[in-house]
């Protein structure tokens, strides 16, 4: 049984077969099965394609795969995020786990994580002794008469610690960001996202336009940045914070700046999925934690729009404190590419 399947990393020559596998075994018509340029944007690094494949050696067909997205240009010591893990039925029920182990041990990664894992797979990660959990969902409502994207049963708009010295500086180009923010100074952060990643992921995304804000405390330099994405549905807009890099205690002071941005753009709400943040820090910024007792609905899915609350589960091999945001891995990925 052990010799029947070969597990290896993918190359450019495997792309068509991977896309076909995704179409046939993951989801028919999936963006990653139908749009090669987007597939290559997500997974190509030079000659390498960031997938581990299980190949049936008797017919050279793919029988399982797991893709990954890395946070640094170098493979060595990168924090990587698993995505699209799928194995078809074979006579080896351990094959899926072998692919995960291969990725974990052979990719040279520092930390292996995944954001958006299916709840039913959690026992697998627990068996592998990975840490699992659920991202917290925080939100702040704009003060409006009615809500069209959110479903509000109980309208509550918490106070924030007002700090008018804190403002947002928006960056429209990567070079502008680099001139004001020293990304490399966070090389000890977990996970560390380098300049290569930030530029590719948030400035050169082929579909989404991100708004990147520096948290300016009038210190002469910026110590933190927020990455956000505006989402519109039926003519109504919300702002989603998808990533953060820097000193997260600075989030405590952004309440006033968030309020200004929300008012100026008439956002219905601002929300944030994150793991590893201290609740008091985010509460000081005027956000509230979406708990099970909170009957409001703050949607997560917009492609297509689904007006329901969503839990985002994750696993990580990190044994140290580790910040996870919705933008990590492939959670903030388009489901389709608009024709325009």
């Amino acid at each position: 049984m052990l010799d029947k399947h070969l597990i290896r990393f993918a190359t450019l020559e495997d792309v068509d077969a991977i896309m076909t596998f995704i179409n046939e075994n993951w989801k028919e018509g999936h963006l990653l099965a139908t749009n090669k340029s987007f597939f290559l944007y997500e997974y190509q690094c030079g000659e390498r394609i960031n997938f581990a494949l299980a190949i049936d050696v008797t017919n050279n067909k793919i029988v399982g795969l797991c893709g990954f997205i890395k946070n640094t240009e170098a493979y060595q010591n990168s924090c990587i995020w698993g995505s699209i893990w799928k194995v078809i039925k074979t006579d080896d029920p351990m094959l899926g786990i072998k692919i995960l182990e291969y990725l974990h041990t052979q990719s040279d990664c520092k930390i292996f994580s995944s954001c958006g894992i299916a709840p039913k797979t959690i026992p697998i990660y627990q068996f592998l002794r990975f840490k699992t959990g659920k991202l917290n969902h925080y939100y702040r409502l704009n003060d409006k008469e009615s809500y069209n994207i959110a479903k509000i049963v109980s309208k509550e708009i918490p106070e924030f610690v007002e700090n008018i010295k804190v403002s947002f500086k928006e960056f429209n180009t990567f070079s502008d960001l680099q001139a004001h923010f020293d990304i490399s100074s966070f090389s000890e952060a977990l996970p560390y996202k380098d300049a290569w990643y930030l530029e590719k992921r948030y400035f050169n995304h082929p579909v989404y336009q991100y708004k990147i804000f520096g948290i300016d405390e009038n210190l002469g330099q910026l110590n933190s940045i927020l990455i956000t994405r505006e989402v519109a549905y039926n003519g109504v807009k919300v702002l989603r914070i998808v990533d953060f890099i820097g000193d997260y205690t600075q989030l405590a002071g952004i309440g006033y700046a968030i309020q200004q941005v929300m008012k100026k753009n008439d956002y219905e709400y601002v929300d944030l999925y994150a793991g590893g943040l201290q609740l008091d820090v985010i509460e000081q910024a005027g956000f509230q934690l979406k708990t099970d007792a909170d009957l409001n609905c703050i949607p997560n899915y917009f492609e297509p729009f689904v007006q329901e609350n969503t839990a985002i589960h994750y696993f990580t091999t990190s044994e140290q404190d580790f910040l996870i945001f919705k933008g990590d891995g492939d959670q903030d990925r388009p489901n389709f590419i608009p024709q325009s």
Partner: protein, 79 residues
């Protein structure tokens, strides 16, 4: 513990986890013979075996299971 009893117990666990009353295991049964026995359910089965028999398996041990008989033998060696 008798191997026959272990086989009977794990058959009941398979029925419960895979939600299939028709499962009848033999020592020669492999994953290819049972609908729904895949990577996901395999670990659920392993965890259920551990809880039921009060034992623990290593990843190496479960990677060596080629059929139900190998599972029964492994459990028998620990009970």
């Amino acid at each position: 513990m008798e191997r026959e009893q272990i086989l009977k117990d794990i058959n009941a666990i398979f029925i419960d986890i895979l939600d299939n009353e028709d499962i009848v295991l033999t020592n020669e049964t492999t994953a290819a013979d049972v609908d729904g026995w895949d990577s996901l359910t395999h670990i659920q089965l392993v965890v259920a075996f551990e809880n039921h028999f009060g034992i623990r398996f290593t990843t190496m041990e479960i990677q060596g299971w080629e059929n139900v008989g190998a599972i029964v033998a492994c459990i028998s060696s620990k009970c």
